[in-house]
C-alpha cells in the first residue's frame, strides 16, 4: 500500500512538475473581444484536460489592417484571427511569417465562422432605414469605420458597393456615385469597428451604424434593446474572417502544436457553439440550425462573385489612390 501511494504521489508530482505553462498571443480584429474571452477559457479547459498543460492566451484587438501591420512590424503573434484574408496575405507577403497557401490549411478557407453587415438604428427607426438606398439619402448620418484601417469597414463598403452593382446592372459609374453619396453622409471615421460602435451608441452620433452583425447584437445587449434596433437589409455581403497560425513566431516560441490546436478547436462543436452564442454564423450546419433564430436570412454576395477576390478589391478600392481615396474627402 505504501509503495502504491508512493508511486501515485511520485507520478502526480512528476505530472505537476511536467505540466507546462504555455503562452499564446492571438492578434485579432476589433469586435471579437467577447468571443475570444469566452473561447479562450473553453480552449484552456480543453487543453488542460487533454495534455495537463496550462495555456494562457493573451489578446490584442484593433482594426484588422492595423493589426496586420503591427504583426508585420514585429508584434509576436502566435495566431492571427483577422477580419479578411487580404490582411493575413499581407503578413505572409511582407513579413514571410507564414506560407502563401495558409488559407488551405483549415476547412472552409480557414474561416470557422462567417458574419455580415447590418444596420443598427435608433429605436423606432426615426429615419425609416430599411435598405441601402435609405442610407445614402440626404440628411441621414451614417457611422462606419475607416476602410483603410478596419476590416469591418471594408466589408461594409463592399456590401454597399455590391448592392449598387446589383441594383444598377453592374454599372461601375453609378455604383461609384452611390458609394460617394454614402460617404458624404459619414461625419466621422473611427479606426475600428468597436470605435464606431462607441461613436454611435455611446456618443449618440449618427442615424445608422453599418456594423458587423455580432457587433450590432452586442450593442443591443450592452446598451439596451430599448435604445436601438437591428435592421437587416435584404442584401449584404458574406464576411469571412479567417484565422491562421503565424508559423515562424509559433515555432520560435515552441507553440506550434498548441497554436494549431487552438484554431482547430474553433471548428469543434464547442467552438462553433461559442461562435453562435456570440452572434457569429457558425459553419457547422447543425449548430447553425440550432441558433437560426439569432440570424436573419438575407441574400449574401461574396467578394469573389462581385469583386473578383480580395486582392482585386483591395487594389481597386482601398489601395492608395483607389476608389475610396477618390470619393472620400475628410
Amino acid at each position: 500500500m505504501k509503495i502504491l501511494l508512493t508511486i501515485l504521489l511520485a507520478s502526480s508530482l512528476s505530472a505537476v512538475a511536467g505540466a507546462k505553462e504555455i503562452k499564446l498571443l492571438n492578434v485579432s480584429y476589433d469586435p471579437t473581444r467577447e468571443l475570444y474571452q469566452e473561447y479562450n477559457a473553453a480552449f484552456a479547459k480543453y487543453w488542460k484536460a487533454k495534455t495537463g498543460d496550462d495555456v494562457v492566451i493573451s489578446q490584442s484587438h484593433g482594426g484588422s489592417g492595423k493589426q496586420a501591420q503591427s504583426v508585420i512590424n514585429g508584434l509576436e503573434a502566435d495566431v492571427v484571427t483577422l477580419a479578411l484574408a487580404y490582411d493575413i496575405d499581407a503578413i505572409s507577403q511582407q513579413a514571410r511569417l507564414l506560407p502563401a497557401d495558409w488559407q488551405k490549411r483549415l476547412p472552409d478557407n480557414s474561416t470557422p465562422y462567417t458574419s455580415t453587415i447590418v444596420f443598427l438604428v435608433r429605436k423606432g427607426n426615426p429615419k425609416h432605414i430599411r435598405d441601402w438606398d435609405d442610407v445614402v439619402k440626404p440628411g441621414v448620418s451614417v457611422v462606419v469605420p475607416n476602410p483603410k484601417t478596419s476590416g469591418g469597414a471594408r466589408w461594409a463598403y463592399l456590401a454597399a458597393y455590391a448592392y449598387a452593382l446589383e441594383t444598377y446592372g453592374h454599372d461601375e459609374a453609378k455604383a461609384k456615385a452611390f458609394i460617394t453619396r454614402l460617404y458624404k453622409n459619414v461625419p466621422i471615421l473611427d479606426s475600428g469597428a468597436r470605435g464606431s460602435t462607441i461613436t454611435f451608441a455611446q456618443r449618440g452620433i449618427g442615424d445608422v451604424l453599418l456594423a458587423w452583425e455580432n457587433e450590432a447584437h452586442l450593442a443591443l445587449k450592452e446598451f439596451g434593446a430599448d435604445k436601438f434596433e437591428i435592421i437587416t437589409p435584404p442584401l449584404s455581403i458574406l464576411a469571412e474572417p479567417p484565422v491562421a497560425v503565424v508559423d515562424k513566431v509559433a515555432k520560435r516560441h515552441g507553440n506550434t502544436e498548441v497554436a494549431k490546436a487552438y484554431l482547430e478547436y474553433l471548428y469543434s462543436d464547442d467552438g462553433q457553439e461559442i461562435a453562435a452564442k456570440n452572434f457569429y454564423r457558425p459553419r457547422n450546419p447543425a449548430i447553425a440550425e440550432k441558433y437560426a433564430a439569432n440570424f436573419t436570412q438575407l441574400k449574401l454576395v461574396t467578394v469573389d462573385q462581385e469583386f473578383g477576390g480580395w486582392a482585386k478589391a483591395q487594389a481597386t478600392h482601398f489601395a492608395d489612390g483607389g476608389v475610396f481615396d477618390q470619393i472620400y474627402q475628410p
Binding site: 461625419p187 470605435g195 461613436t199 449618440g204 452620433i205 449618427g206
Partner: protein, 511 residues
C-alpha cells in the same frame, strides 16, 4: 377671444344704451308739458326700432367676421410659432450632432496623437549627458564627456618632468544600445597630446547575471584601476596601478549576482604588461592572458547601513609573456615620473614566460566616509641573456576621504546636495582626501635585470588633497604628493634621489 368679447360687449352695450339716451332726451326736450306719446311718435318709434335692430344685426355680423379674422390670425400665429419651434429644434439637433461629432473627432485625434507619441523617440539632456532613445527603448545613443585640465608643479630640483598645465584627458564618450540587449561604448581620448582609442567595446546584456563584453576595455584586476577616471580621489592613481594592466583587448564574461552582492568577471585577452599604455590595440606576442575577478558586497541590499557600503574581493591574471613587449615600460610616481625600468647596465631584460598577478582589494563607504585599500603582486619570469629569474614586485595602498559637507561618499563619486550657487547659499560639496602607498621591486631584479643607477628599488608616497564638487559635472581638486625612494644609488637619476614633491590642481568637467 377676450378682445373679441370685449368689442362685442362694447358694441352691444352701446347699441342698447343709445336708444335709452335718445328716449331720455326726447322726454326732457318738451317745454314743460309732460311728455306723452303721440300716435305719430309711436309709428316713427317702431320704424326706428326696426332700423336699430337691423343695425345691431349688421354689427353682430361685423363682430362675428372680426372674431373669425382674429381666430384665423391666432391660428396663423400659432402655426408660425410651431414652425419656428420645429425649425429651431431641427437646428438644435443639427448643432448637437455637430458638437458631438467634433467632440468625438477630438477624442479620436487625441488617441491618434497618443499612439503616435508612443512611437516618437525621446530626447534627454541633463547632468548625466545627452541621450536619444527610440520609442520602444530598443535603441539609444548617448554622449558623455570627460575633460580634465591639470596643473603639476614640481618642487625641488632635478625633476625630469616639467611643471605646467596639461590636458590630462579630453574624451567624448559615445554610448548606446542596439536591439535592446547590445550596449556599445566608443571612447577616444584627445588629451596628453595624442589621439587614441581608450575604450571600444560591445556588451551583450541579455541578463544582468550573465553578460558578454568584447573589444578594448579595462581588464578585471585592480580596484582603483577599474574606478572611473572622473571619480578618483586624487589626480593620479596609486602605485598599485603600476602593477596592473590599464587596458586590454579581448572577451569577458561578467555579471552581477544576487542583486549585486556578488560581481564576477572572467576574461581572455591579448595580455598587457604592468601599467600598459592605452595606445595598444593588438597582441604584442602570440600568447593570450586570462583574467578573473570576484567582488563581494554581502550587505548591499540589507538594512544594515553600517555594512551596506563594504565590499571586498580579489582580482588576478595569468599569461605567458615573452620578449621586450611582454615587460612593463616602467613604474611611475604620482607625478608620472618614471622611477623604475627594466634597464640593466648591460644587456636587455625581456619577459621570459609566466606572468601572474594577484590583487586582494576592498572598499568601505559609510555616509561621508570613503576608504579604499588594495594590495598587488606582479610575479614575472624575466631573462637577460643567459640569466633568468622570477621577480615578484608588490605594491599596496590605502586611501580615504571625508565629505565635509555631509554628502555620501561612494566609488562612483560625490553628488553635491546644494550645487554651487553662492547667491542662493549653495556651495557644492567639499571633501578632504589622503593616501599612503608603497611599491617594492624584487631585490633580485638588481643588478642583472635593472640598474640602481637608473631605478629605485622601492617608492613610498603620501598624498593629501581637497576636492570641491561644484555640482554633478564640475569639480576642482588640489593636492600635494610626496614620494621618497629606496635603493637608488646612481649619479644620473631618472628621478630626484631625494624624492618627488608635486602640487596638483585639476579642473574637471564630466557628464
Amino acid at each position: 377671444m377676450k378682445l373679441n368679447q370685449l368689442i362685442l360687449t362694447a358694441i352691444v352695450g352701446a347699441q342698447f344704451a343709445l336708444p335709452l339716451f335718445a328716449a331720455d332726451s326726447e322726454a326732457t326736450n318738451s317745454t314743460g308739458a309732460a311728455q306723452s306719446e303721440s300716435p305719430a311718435l309711436t309709428a316713427g318709434g317702431t320704424a326706428a326700432s326696426a332700423a336699430e335692430t337691423e343695425e345691431i344685426e349688421d354689427l353682430k355680423r361685423e363682430i362675428q367676421a372680426l372674431d373669425q379674422k382674429v381666430q384665423n390670425l391666432e391660428k396663423q400665429h400659432q402655426s408660425q410659432q410651431q414652425a419656428i419651434i420645429a425649425t429651431n429644434q431641427e437646428q438644435i439637433q443639427e448643432l448637437d450632432q455637430k458638437v458631438r461629432v467634433l467632440s468625438r473627432q477630438h477624442e479620436l485625434d487625441q488617441e491618434t496623437a497618443e499612439a503616435a507619441a508612443k512611437l516618437q523617440p525621446r530626447f534627454k539632456l541633463d547632468s548625466s549627458g545627452f541621450l536619444f532613445t527610440s520609442a520602444d527603448t530598443n535603441f539609444s545613443i548617448g554622449l558623455h564627456g570627460l575633460v580634465q585640465l591639470d596643473s603639476r608643479t614640481y618642487l625641488g630640483n632635478n625633476n625630469v618632468a616639467n611643471s605646467g598645465f596639461l590636458l590630462r584627458r579630453a574624451r567624448p564618450i559615445i554610448v548606446g544600445t542596439v536591439f535592446h540587449d547590445f550596449d556599445y561604448n566608443l571612447t577616444p581620448d584627445f588629451g596628453g597630446g595624442t589621439v587614441q582609442i581608450v575604450d571600444a567595446y560591445i556588451n551583450y546584456h541579455y541578463d544582468p547575471q550573465l553578460q558578454l563584453e568584447a573589444g578594448k576595455f579595462k581588464p578585471p584586476v585592480g580596484l582603483e584601476a577599474l574606478q572611473s577616471d572622473a571619480n578618483l580621489y586624487l589626480n593620479e592613481r596609486s602605485l598599485v596601478t603600476d602593477l596592473v594592466p590599464n587596458r586590454d583587448v579581448g572577451l569577458e564574461l561578467h555579471g552581477d549576482l544576487f542583486g549585486g552582492a556578488i560581481s564576477y568577471a572572467a576574461a581572455i585577452m591579448d595580455g598587457a604588461p604592468d601599467y600598459s599604455s592605452t595606445t595598444v590595440n593588438t597582441n604584442l606576442d602570440s600568447d593570450l592572458a586570462y583574467y578573473g575577478r570576484i567582488f563581494v558586497q554581502p550587505w548591499i541590499t540589507s538594512d544594515v547601513d553600517l555594512l551596506r557600503g563594504l565590499g571586498f574581493g580579489v582580482g588576478g591574471s595569468y599569461e605567458d609573456a615573452s620578449g621586450v613587449n611582454g615587460l612593463t615600460a616602467g613604474y611611475t610616481t604620482d607625478g608620472q615620473q618614471r622611477f623604475f625600468t627594466y634597464t640593466p647596465a648591460a644587456g636587455t631584460t625581456i619577459a621570459n614566460g609566466q606572468h601572474w598577478r594577484l590583487s586582494p582589494q576592498s572598499y568601505y563607504y559609510y555616509g561621508p566616509l570613503g576608504l579604499m585599500g588594495e594590495y598587488a603582486i606582479s610575479d614575472q619570469d624575466v631573462r637577460n641573456g643567459a640569466a633568468t629569474a622570477n621577480l615578484q614586485n608588490t605594491a599596496w595602498e590605502v586611501q580615504g576621504g571625508w565629505v565635509l559637507t555631509g554628502e555620501d561618499a561612494s566609488y562612483n563619486g560625490v553628488t553635491p546636495r546644494h550645487p554651487f550657487k553662492p547667491l542662493s547659499g549653495g556651495w557644492g560639496a567639499w571633501q578632504v582626501v589622503g593616501r599612503y602607498e608603497q611599491l617594492n621591486v624584487d631585490s633580485a631584479a638588481f643588478p642583472t635585470f635593472a640598474s640602481s643607477a637608473a631605478s629605485a628599488s622601492a617608492a613610498r608616497a603620501w598624498s593629501a588633497g581637497l576636492n570641491w564638487y561644484l555640482n554633478r559635472n564640475i569639480r576642482f581638486d588640489a593636492s600635494y604628493s610626496h614620494t621618497t625612494f629606496s635603493g637608488y644609488t646612481g649619479p644620473s637619476p631618472a628621478v630626484p634621489a631625494k624624492g618627488e614633491d608635486v602640487f596638483f590642481t585639476r579642473i574637471q568637467l564630466a557628464f
